[in-house]
C-alpha cells in the first residue's frame, strides 16, 4: 500500500465522481413537483419604485405565483442580517440600514431583486418575468467611492448621511504622529485596490422544499457554511426554528468567499415553497452572478511610512476608504477593519501604526470577503509601500525587508495593531524563494530580454496573513455576532470503520481526502476505513463552515480533539478487557496496548465491545463509541512567505506576460502537499488575475459595464505561467496539529509581487507605482507617455 500518512500526496477521493459527471451540485438536484423561480431585477442603479404590475405575469402560461417585496413584508419577513457590527471612533455603532429580501420603495444597485416569478418550467418563468412591469422614477446613482463621498452625492439610504457606514480607527495616533515627526525620510503611496467579481465557476443556486405534513423546510444551496445559513435565515429572516429547517450544501463548485453569505434567493425559494406548497428551484444565470454575488476588495488608500536613517520603519499611517456597496453583506463590515488594518504590521517590526477606515455605501453590488478578505488589501498596501521605502532610501528592495523583519527569535510577537503572531521565520522563506527564483541571476535575464526587445522586471512580496478564524471571545469583543469555533463528530462504527462529521465544507479544497488522511493517521487505520461527511445540517451537529482558510486549523483541530476523546474512552474499555489500569494503556498504530507488554486490543475490537457491551465496565462507561468536540481556537494562525514574480512587457503592445512565478510559503504542517500546492497555485492565479486582468467597472451612474465573461477578464490558461510552489515550515504553536492554512496565501502574497515586477520593468519610464490591473492599455500609455515624437508624425 502506498504511503498515505501525514505528508503524503494522496490522490483525491472526490475526483472519481467529478471526472465521471456524477458530482451532485445544487442545480443537479430536482425534487418531485418542483417549480422554477426567476427573479426580476433592477436595471437601474438607483430608482424609486412607483408601481409593480404583475397581472400579466400571473396570467402567463405555467405561472404558479408572482411575489414582490410587499408580499414578504406583509408576512413580517425580515431583512437580510449583517453578522458583524463595527463601532465608530466615537463608540457609536455603524449605520446598518435594512436590506429587504425583495426591494421595497427603492432599488439601490443594478441587479437589486424586485420580484420573483415561479412557474412550471424555467423557460415559462423567464417568459413571465418579462411581463412584470415595474415603473421606476430613475434617480442619479453614485457607484464609486469618489462619487458617493462628493458633497451633495445621492444618498444610498436616506437615513445614512454622507453615505458613511462607519468611521473606524485602530492603533496609536499620537505615537505614530511622533514617529513621523522624528523621521529621517517618509515614503508615501496612494493606491487603489480594484474591485473584483468572484466568479466561482458554479453559479449560485437554491432549491427550497416545504413538507406540508411535518412543517419542515429543506433548503439545498450553494453554500460554504450551511449551519450559518440555517442560523441567519431561520432566526432573522423567515423565523423558522432550527429543528424545522434543514440546510444542505452538496457539492459546491467553488466559493472563494462569495458563497459564505446569506443571499435573498435562499430566503425566497424557502419561503415560496411553503406558499406554493411545492419545491421551488432557482439557479443564477452568469449575468445574475455578476450583479448579485458579493464583490470583493474596492479600497482607496493613502499610506505613509516613516523611516530612520538606516531604513528602519518607525511608523505607518494609513487612511482607507472602503466600498460596502448598496447594502451590508453578511460579513462586509469586518473585512476592511479587523481582517485588514490588524494586518498592517505585516512581517515587519514597525513600532507605531495608526489606521483610519471609512466605509461607504454606494449604488453597487454589496462587497464582502473574497479570497483573502482584507489581507490581500493589507499585503498589497504594505508590500507596495515597502518598495516605495526602498526607492526613498536608495536601498535594495530585499535589503530593506531584511532590516525590518520580525526576527524568528521574537515570537510570540505582539504587533501594535492587536494581533499576536505565534510563529514564523521570514528570513527562511525569503532565502528559499530568492534561491528558487534565482533572484541573483535576474540582471542577466533582464539583459537577454532587452536584446529580444522586451522589458523585463522582477518583483517581490514578503507577506503575512492571519487566518484560521478565530477565538470566539476575541471576535465577539470586536463585533462578531457569532462564535467562530468548529465542530467535529466522530463515530467509530461497531466493526471499526470511522465516520467523521465535520462542520466545515469542501467546495474544491479536497477535505474528503485530507481529513481522511488526518484521521486515518490519528487512529492508525487505512484511509479507506475513514469517511468524511459535510454539508448537511441534518447530519452534522453544528458548524461554522469554510472560509478564512480555517478548515484544517479549526475544523481539523476539532477532529483531533474528538479523536482524543474516542481514544480516551477506548483506553478505559481496553483496560477493562486487558485487566489493566487505564493509565497504563497506550494507543499506537491502531492498537490499545498495555505499556511494556505485548497485550493489546485493536480499535475494531474495542469498538465492537463498545457496541456489544457484554463484557464491559457498564457501571462507569456508557456503551457506544462516538464523540463530539467543539474547538475554539486560541488565536488566529499566521501563514506568511515570499512570492517572487518576473514579467516581460512587450513595449509595442503593453502586454505583460508573467514569465516566472515562485512562491515559498509557511503554511504550517502540511498534510497533503499535492493539495497544498494546488491551493497555492489557484490563489496565485487569482492574484495574477487581480494584478493584470480583472476589474469590475461601473459607469458614472452605476451601470455595470463588466457584467459578463465577455467583459470581465477572467484569467485563461494562456494568461498564466507555471507556478512554482515550495514550503518552508514553522509550526503553529497553539493548535494541536501545528497547521496554519493555505487557501488564501496565493491571492494574498502575489499581487504586490506582480505589480512590483511591472514597475521594475518600467522603471526607466518614470513610474514608481501602477494601479491594478496593469492592463496593456495602461502599460502602453506609460511606455509611450514620454516618447519623443517621431519625425514623420
Amino acid at each position: 500500500m502506498a504511503f498515505e500518512g501525514i505528508g503524503a500526496s494522496v490522490k483525491r477521493r472526490e475526483d472519481l465522481r467529478f471526472l465521471s459527471g456524477r458530482g451532485n451540485y445544487t442545480d443537479d438536484i430536482n425534487r418531485p413537483g418542483q417549480l422554477h423561480a426567476v427573479l426580476v431585477r433592477s436595471p437601474h442603479p438607483h430608482a424609486r419604485i412607483t408601481g409593480i404590475d404583475t397581472a400579466a405575469a400571473k396570467a402567463a402560461p405555467g405561472v404558479a405565483a408572482v411575489f414582490v417585496g410587499a408580499d414578504l413584508a406583509a408576512e413580517n419577513i425580515g431583512g437580510l442580517p449583517c453578522g458583524w457590527q463595527i463601532h465608530n471612533k466615537d463608540g457609536s455603532p455603524m449605520a446598518e440600514p435594512p436590506h429587504p429580501v425583495l426591494a421595497i420603495g427603492k432599488v439601490r444597485h443594478v441587479g437589486d431583486p424586485v420580484a420573483v416569478v415561479i412557474a412550471e418550467t424555467k423557460a415559462q418563468a423567464k417568459d413571465a418575468a418579462e411581463l412584470v412591469s415595474v415603473s421606476y422614477d430613475v434617480l442619479k446613482g453614485a457607484p464609486s467611492l469618489e462619487a458617493a463621498l462628493r458633497p451633495g452625492a445621492p444618498l444610498v439610504h436616506d437615513e445614512v448621511g454622507g453615505n458613511l457606514c462607519y468611521d473606524w480607527h485602530i492603533g496609536d495616533k499620537d505615537a505614530t504622529d511622533a514617529a513621523f515627526a522624528g523621521a529621517h525620510k517618509v515614503a508615501r503611496l496612494e493606491l487603489v485596490n480594484n474591485r473584483l467579481i468572484p466568479n466561482a465557476m458554479e453559479p449560485r443556486a437554491a432549491v427550497g422544499e416545504f413538507d406540508t405534513m411535518s412543517g419542515d423546510y429543506t433548503l439545498y444551496t450553494t453554500s460554504q457554511n450551511p449551519h450559518v445559513i440555517r442560523l441567519l435565515m431561520g432566526a432573522f429572516v423567515l423565523h423558522i426554528p432550527e429543528h424545522k429547517l434543514r440546510v444542505v450544501a452538496p457539492d459546491v463548485g467553488g466559493g472563494f468567499g462569495s458563497k459564505i453569505y446569506h443571499y435573498a434567493e435562499e430566503a425566497i425559494v424557502t419561503w415560496a415553497s411553503a406558499k406554493v406548497k411545492r419545491p421551488v428551484k432557482w439557479t443564477a444565470d452568469r449575468t445574475e452572478s455578476f450583479m448579485s454575488d458579493a464583490h470583493g476588495r474596492d479600497h482607496v488608500t493613502v499610506a505613509e511610512m516613516a523611516m530612520d536613517a538606516n531604513g528602519k520603519f518607525l511608523g505607518l499611517r494609513v487612511h482607507t476608504h472602503a466600498n460596502m456597496g448598496a447594502y451590508l453583506s453578511t460579513f462586509a463590515p469586518c473585512v476592511p477593519t479587523y481582517l485588514y488594518a490588524t494586518l498592517l504590521a505585516g512581517t515587519y517590526t514597525t513600532p507605531a501604526i495608526y489606521a483610519e477606515v471609512k466605509a461607504v455605501f454606494t449604488h453597487s453590488v454589496p462587497v464582502d470577503a473574497y479570497r483573502g478578505a482584507g489581507r490581500p488589501e493589507a499585503s498589497f498596501l504594505i508590500e507596495r509601500l515597502v518598495d516605495q521605502c526602498a526607492i526613498a532610501m536608495g536601498m535594495d528592495r530585499v535589503e530593506i525587508r531584511r532590516r525590518n523583519f520580525i526576527p524568528s527569535s521574537a515570537f510570540p510577537y505582539q504587533t501594535p495593531v492587536a494581533l499576536q503572531y505565534d510563529s514564523g521565520d521570514y528570513v527562511a522563506t525569503l532565502e528559499a524563494c530568492l534561491k528558487a527564483s534565482d533572484w541573483a541571476g535576474f540582471e542577466a535575464r533582464r539583459a537577454a530580454a532587452k536584446a529580444r526587445g522586451k522589458l523585463r522586471g522582477i518583483g517581490i512580496s514578503t507577506y503575512l496573513e492571519a487566518c484560521g478564524i478565530a477565538p470566539s471571545a476575541v471576535v465577539g469583543s470586536l463585533g462578531a455576532r457569532a462564535g467562530l469555533y468548529e465542530v467535529a463528530n466522530i463515530r467509530v462504527n461497531p466493526t471499526g470503520s470511522i465516520t467523521v462529521f465535520t462542520g466545515t465544507h469542501s467546495h474544491g479544497q479536497g477535505h474528503e481526502t485530507t481529513f481522511a488522511q488526518l484521521m486515518a493517521a490519528k487512529f492508525g487505520v487505512p484511509m479507506d476505513q475513514v469517511d468524511i461527511v459535510h454539508g448537511d445540517t441534518a447530519r452534522i451537529p453544528f458548524g461554522m463552515g469554510t472560509y478564512g482558510s480555517r478548515s484544517l486549523a479549526v475544523g481539523g483541530s476539532a477532529m483531533d480533539r474528538a479523536a482524543d476523546k474516542i481514544i480516551a474512552k477506548g483506553k478505559k474499555i481496553a483496560a477493562h478487557l486487558l485487566e489493566a489500569d487505564a493509565a497504563d494503556i497506550e494507543f499506537k498504530d491502531g492498537k490499545f496496548q498495555v505499556a511494556g507488554t505485548d497485550r493489546s486490543k485493536a480499535l475494531a475490537e474495542i469498538s465492537l465491545t463498545a457496541y456489544v457491551p457484554h463484557n464491559y465496565p457498564i457501571e462507569e462507561l456508557e456503551p457506544g463509541l462516538e464523540e463530539t468536540a467543539f474547538y475554539d481556537p486560541k488565536n488566529f494562525t499566521y501563514p506568511g512567505g515570499c512570492h517572487i514574480c518576473e514579467v516581460e512587457i512587450d513595449p509595442d503592445t503593453g502586454v505583460v506576460s508573467v514569465v516566472n512565478f515562485t512562491a515559498v510559503d509557511d503554511v504550517g504542517r502540511v498534510i497533503n502537499p499535492m493539495i497544498v500546492e494546488g491551493q497555492v497555485q489557484g490563489g496565485v492565479a487569482q492574484g495574477i488575475g487581480q494584478a493584470l486582468l480583472e476589474t469590475c467597472v461601473y459607469d458614472a451612474d452605476g451601470q455595470l459595464l463588466s457584467g459578463s465573461m465577455m467583459d470581465y477578464t477572467m484569467p485563461r490558461a494562456d494568461n498564466l505561467p507555471n507556478i512554482s510552489v515550495g514550503t518552508s515550515v514553522t509550526l503553529c504553536t497553539h493548535n494541536p496539529l501545528g497547521v496554519k492554512g493555505c487557501g488564501e496565501v496565493g491571492a494574498i502574497g502575489s499581487p504586490p509581487a506582480v505589480i512590483g515586477a511591472v514597475v521594475d520593468a518600467l522603471k526607466d519610464h518614470g513610474i514608481t507605482h501602477i494601479d491594478m490591473p496593469a492592463t496593456p492599455q495602461k502599460v502602453w500609455g506609460i511606455i509611450n507617455a514620454n516618447r519623443p515624437r517621431m519625425a514623420a508624425e
Binding site: 475526483d15 465557476m201 453559479p203 463548485g253
Partner: protein, 167 residues
C-alpha cells in the same frame, strides 16, 4: 413540440423539445445527465462542452433540434463499460487537475478533442492556447496543462502507462 432523435453515450434517445431548447438543457433537464454543466450564458466558460459526432461543441450554443441524428458523447459516457477511465480522466486525477470539479467535465471533453486534433503532440504553450474556450477558477491551469501533456502521450501511443506525477 418538435421531436428530436439522437444517440447519447451510445444509446438511442427520442425527446420532445421546444424549438428554443438548448442541447445542454436536453441533456441536463430531459435526460438528467447532469455531468454537463452550465457556468455562463455567453459561451465563454466551456463547462458544457460535449462531443457531437466526435467534435467538441459547447452544448449551450446549439439547439437540441440541431443534433437530430447525431451521436453525442457526454462526460458520463467517457469511461469504458467496465469503469476504466479514459486516459484524460485518469491524468486529471493523477495530476490534481481539478478542485471543485465544476469546470472539469467540459475541460476533459475539450482536452480530448484538442489532443485528438493534434496527433503530432502539443507543446505546453499550445495546450494553454488550446484551452482558450475553457475557464477554471480553482487550479490556475498549471496542473490541467500537466495532465493534458501526460494524457496526450498515452492517447498517441507514445507510452503505455500514464506518466506518474512527481510526489
Amino acid at each position: 413540440m418538435p421531436q428530436v432523435s439522437l444517440k447519447v453515450n451510445g444509446k438511442p434517445v427520442t425527446a420532445e423539445v421546444e424549438g428554443r431548447t438548448l442541447l445542454v438543457d436536453l441533456l441536463r433537464e430531459t435526460l438528467r445527465l447532469t455531468g454537463t454543466h452550465v457556468g455562463c450564458d455567453t459561451s465563454q466558460c466551456g463547462a458544457c462542452v460535449v462531443h457531437i459526432d466526435g467534435e467538441s461543441v459547447k452544448a449551450c450554443t446549439i439547439l437540441a433540434v440541431q443534433v437530430q441524428g447525431s451521436d453525442v458523447l457526454t462526460i458520463e459516457g467517457l469511461a469504458a463499460a467496465d469503469g476504466t477511465l479514459h486516459p484524460m480522466q485518469e491524468a486529471f486525477r493523477e495530476y490534481h487537475a481539478l478542485q471543485c470539479g465544476f469546470c472539469t467535465p467540459g475541460m476533459v471533453m475539450s482536452a480530448i478533442d484538442l489532443v485528438k486534433k493534434n496527433p503530432k503532440g502539443l507543446s505546453e504553450q499550445e495546450i494553454r492556447e488550446g484551452l482558450e474556450g475553457n475557464l477554471c477558477r480553482c487550479t490556475g491551469y498549471h496542473n490541467i496543462v500537466k495532465a493534458i501533456d501526460a494524457a496526450q502521450q498515452v492517447m498517441h501511443g507514445k507510452v503505455k502507462e500514464l506518466p506518474r506525477a512527481a510526489e
